[in-house]
Subunit: 105 residues, 2 copies
DNA sequence: CGTATTCATAACTACTCGGTTATGTAAAAT
DNA sequence: ATTTTACATAACCGAGTAGTTATGAATACG
């Protein structure tokens, strides 16, 4: 998934809290996720749908309940992006440092 | 800055593109950033204001023009958060693996 | 000086989006 | 078979937000 989608998906606090809980506590049902989410069950379901489309969670149906679980590997584009940005910046910084050093001699 | 603010700030494509350009190309004026941004100059100024409040960029006034530059260090809460999430997940994974191994013997 | 340039701010608009209630669907329970 | 339970979907609404044009403020220029 593109990092753009990940940013938009994780920008919402409720959604991010759901993902965090799944990372900390493992697979949970919608009912369990709803209590403590601070919003209604339909709201939770919608958020879980968005998280799923972003690849951040997976679902498993068991009887009439659905278990959701985190897929933190999906965060890798985000990690790559931040690394890339800091690297670009560092590159220019090194180049500048080099230039100053050469000017100094 | 809290990672919540960073996610919300970087969720907008135009804003993220501005930050990326500043990381790649170094300090740039508002006029230069505006051409190629695909939106009007006031829009660019507003986005830069939001990026600044998030600590992602800094500005420097030089005569009548303002130079903006990236501060990728501000991304660290984001990096920490992703690390934390994957760690939580890994911890539970390791515990499970352990349990299975003990059950196997 | 007066004018032009560069950026920021104000005021407004259109749309997105997160929330709600209501309802549908499928599986368990009685 | 009927009812309850668990979740998803639909329809709708209010608030936030990204965009616009218009204008203000400050600095360079002729």
């Amino acid at each position: 998934m593109t990092s753009q989608v990940l940013f938009k998906t994780l920008a919402d606090p409720t959604r991010r809290a759901l993902f965090e809980r799944l990372c900390r506590e493992g697979d949970l049902t919608v009912a369990v996720l709803t209590e403590g989410a601070g919003v209604s069950q339909p709201a939770v379901s919608k958020h879980l749908g968005i998280l799923k489309r972003a690849g951040l969670v997976h679902d498993r149906h068991e009887g009439r309940q659905t278990h959701y679980g985190a897929q933190p590997e999906a965060l890798s584009p985000l990690i790559d992006w931040t690394r890339e940005m800091t690297e670009f910046w560092q590159l220019r910084f090194d180049a500048l440092e080099d230039l100053l050093k050469r000017m100094d001699q």
